[in-house]
């Protein structure tokens, strides 16, 4: 799952380069020209400090979202009601771990350390997509999340795969290729349950009623409240605005919801003939900001679970490191720990 939801701080502080020297201005211009030409920026290339900073923040948030996102769905693997659903959900959550893995590594090519990124997450200094602060209260949430949450993420990430930073774009390509099954397995579930017994249909409707608004908030604040967007678009980090993406999503899912006789908890939602768009009521932005600030239903819970896994795993990590070090010493061979030919650097 990909959850691009630029953090509050990103939105409030403009991302523009603060270079003052003529040199830096020239370099920035050359850099932006490269992006304009469709070139990829690779590790080692010159980049504005603000670009590097934005990317590390974006990529690590994205990675954190994948990892934290494993929890609300992963909790239902043990209760999936058929072998097909059990395996599909396990595979989906596994993919999310894999996607987090690809993304942490892309961020590491910008000289961020995974250790530090994870510490920042566990100490609540880093953000992840809000959507995972909401609880999964029933099995039918799983189908809705697959179809609509992953569906929303796909709308975002198709754009990211064309981004300017090589390692991130490559990670996104792998992610995109794997992601479509996430959405389809969810969509299939919702279709079958909406067409199933009255209890199943009611359960699905209840899931949609709880998840609808948080899903719309995934696309971030209105364009008018996103001062960073123009810079990010100029840097090829973002190619469409929040509102554009949100509209694309609405137009994609509402026809199917209607055909399945499922409703959304928005009395204003209607199809506007003139624009060809589905148009609904205003999002409750107070809740959006509150949840982003860490006050959402499950923020503390999610992080506690991650922290516990991390701490539990300490002895495991230490054991494998100790073993590897002893083996390397015993072999007198070039050690895999820290020894290098001086090349160093991070690549992906």
């Amino acid at each position: 799952m990909s959850y691009l939801n630029i953090s509050v701080e990103d939105e409030k502080q403009p991302a523009g380069a603060n270079g003052t020297s003529g040199d830096e201005a020239a370099q920035t211009a050359a850099f932006e020209a490269r992006i304009e030409r469709g070139e990829k920026i690779e590790p080692g290339d010159w980049m504005p400090a603000a670009y590097r900073k934005q990317l590390v923040r974006m990529i690590s948030q994205h990675a954190h979202s994948e990892i934290v996102g494993m929890l609300p769905e992963g909790a239902w693997i043990t209760r999936a009601p058929s072998l097909r659903r059990k395996m599909a959900l396990l595979a989906k959550v596994q993919d999310e771990a894999g996607h987090g893995q690809y993304l942490y590594h892309a961020a590491e090519t910008l000289d961020a350390s995974r250790e530090e990124m994870i510490d920042a997450l566990l100490e609540r200094r880093a953000k992840y997509s809000n959507i995972f602060n909401y609880p999964t209260l029933s099995w039918t949430d799983i189908g809705v999340i697959g179809w609509l949450v992953d569906g929303a993420a796909i709308v975002n990430q198709t754009m990211l795969a064309k981004g300017s930073y090589g390692p991130y774009a490559r990670a996104m390509l792998r992610i995109c290729a794997e992601e479509s099954f996430h959405k389809k397995q969810g969509h299939e579930q919702v279709i079958l349950m909406a067409q199933g017994t009255p209890e199943q249909k009611a359960m699905v409707q209840d899931s949609i009623d709880r998840w609808w608004w948080p899903i719309l908030m995934m696309f971030g604040p209105h364009d008018s409240d996103s001062p960073n967007t123009p810079t990010l678009m100029r840097w090829g980090v973002k190619t469409k605005s929040n509102d554009e993406l949100r509209q694309m999503f609405l137009n994609q899912v509402l026809p199917d919801l209607e055909a399945l006789e499922l409703t959304v908890p928005d009395p204003e939602m209607h199809f506007d003939e003139e624009s060809g768009n589905w148009i609904g009521g205003e999002i409750d932005w107070d809740e959006f900001w509150r949840v982003i600030q860490g006050d959402g239903p499950l923020n503390a819970d999610r992080l506690a679970a991650r922290r516990e896994a991390h701490e539990e795993g300490q002895w495991v990590r230490e054991a494998l490191t100790a073993y590897a070090q002893r083996e390397a010493q015993a072999a007198h061979a070039p050690s895999t720990n820290g020894a290098s030919n001086g090349a160093g650097g991070a690549h992906a």
């Binding site: 043990t78 209760r79 072998l83 396990l90 199933g196 539990e312 002895w315």
Partner: protein
Amino acid sequence: MNPEIKAALRGKLLAMADDDLLLGHRNSEWTGHAPILEEDIAFANIALDEIGHAKLWYEILADLEGEDRETYPDRLVFHRLTSAWRSAQITELDKGDFAFTIVRQYLCDTAELARLEGLRTSSYTPVAEVANKIIAEEHYHHRHTRAWVRRLGLGTEESHERMERALHNLWPFTAQLFAPVPDEALLVEAGIVPDPQAVKEAWEGPVRAWLAECNLPAPEGLPPVNIGREIHTEHLVTLLGEMQSVARLVPEGVW
């Protein structure tokens, strides 16, 4: 196929399927909680493999019973009462810490591999075909778990202690993996399954040797098995209570 052999085969298939299913289920409990991200991914793979193997055995059982292979496995897994399961107790136990999980997986993987070697030449074609298909995945599990047994066994004092404790707790349960199911002798005679005693012997030597190398000498001997697979631990009650909860909410539901 004569009715006694059929009944024995039914019991054997159920035993193998139930073992794989529960192991896969227990492994899946680590998803999102594994000690390192890469191992989270690896364990999910092992879980998927095991559940996949269970599904293949359940499907042969469906064919044997004249049931629909699309729906029968789900009925067996999600609507069968605890007492009707035929899992070995070792597969029912809680996942414990990572040492416990690794040791259990290692012991079960090696047992399954030893059995699959014999099943590859089963005179009953569906069994031979499935065995040949899944043995490659079991080889990979073995490669994975033996590497981790070694590293955790030899790693640090703490990891060694945890591994020792896990082995001490798990070893008594291993014998049941090789105890014959009712009338298994008929299956052996018909060439459908290998002799469980031979499987146990093929298993025990290499496992003791590897564990010793990893500074985890296994306890002497294997206790005699006095119980059949219809005797379960209470862990199974909790496990099935959770696993079957959604399916039972809407018993006729299609998910």
